[in-house]
Amino acid sequence: MLYCEEGWEETATHEIDARGMSDGTLRYLAIVTALLTREPGSLLVIEEVDNGLHPSRAHILVKMLKNLGKERGIDVIVTTHNPALLDAAGARMVPFIIIAHRDDTSGASRLTQLEEVERLPKLMASATLGRLSTEGRIESALKQEAGK
């Protein structure tokens, strides 16, 4: 079991178990545990990797996933809706990002490599990945390009 000692300054601490810990803390610990214990050569898929995590910690998460994944030889696939995580990933991660979007006509889901977006160099001239995603500009570029 997982326990944590918590308390206010200058008062007695008390022990809490996993049920009392924040979602973000538990999620982070679970991801680190998986990365430290899975067989090398395996694949770790994490949905909503940063749920419950403070945006200012996004860069720590990205760094940990990259470093531990590399160190232990584990491939990592994550999904996110979080602009802060996209900004933490930055321009260097562009070749590794895939956009999940919807085809307007058929309603089917589609996956597109971010670097295949024709307008990407222009979009990236005006805003970070996170802001582009928040403003829906990557999605509208995809729609425009699909309509051509």
């Binding site: 670097e115 222009k122 001239a125």
Partner: protein, 170 residues
């Protein structure tokens, strides 16, 4: 791989016909308006994106305002280009994301490195153009700096790119 052409101040001045700036570059590799036009036409056919760093826009604007004649007319020409690149009219894009170039960390790095470059007559604007180039190289674009300055021209990305597995030889 997408290609990005970054336009520096001296080339922009040549292209916009700024008085007394009709040519730039060393004698054996001279850029005049015709050569710049030809280059822009060739790259347009290749679907290259033309990136205008704000530094190039500001420095060119300064040259126009300080020109001996045709200031209004040349000003209009630059204004038209500014409108097109702000609207991202193909093939132009204005590099307006300030966080990449002017964050406190970047500003300090520039403060550390630029005085030596100044001694080699490289403007502050040109120094930031290398950062724009680096930014696009990181996202795996093919980058060319269009410039008469050979120091800038010979730019190579300073950090190696990370290559996705799908592009590695099996």
């Amino acid at each position: 791989m997408k290609k990005v052409l970054i336009i520096d101040t001296c080339i922009l001045c040549v292209w916009l016909d700024v008085p007394n700036m009709a040519e730039c570059g060393p004698q054996h590799d001279r850029w005049d308006r015709q050569r710049v036009n030809e280059k822009i036409q060739t790259e347009t056919l290749l679907s290259t994106t033309f990136v205008l760093p704000l530094a190039s826009i500001i420095e060119t604007g300064n040259h126009i305002a300080n020109a001996t004649h045709s200031r209004k007319e040349r000003g209009e020409a630059l204004a038209e280009l500014m409108r097109n690149s702000a609207d991202q009219q193909t093939p132009w894009a204005a590099f307006s994301d300030q966080s990449v170039l002017w964050s406190p960390d970047k500003l300090k790095l520039l403060a550390d490195t630029w005085p030596d470059l100044a001694a080699q007559k490289l403007s502050l604007g040109d120094a930031t153009i290398m950062d724009v180039a680096e930014y696009y190289a990181q996202m795996n674009c093919q980058v060319e700096i269009l410039t008469g300055d050979h120091g800038l021209k010979s730019y190579e990305p300073s950090t190696p790119q990370e290559i996705p597995r799908r592009r590695r030889p099996r």
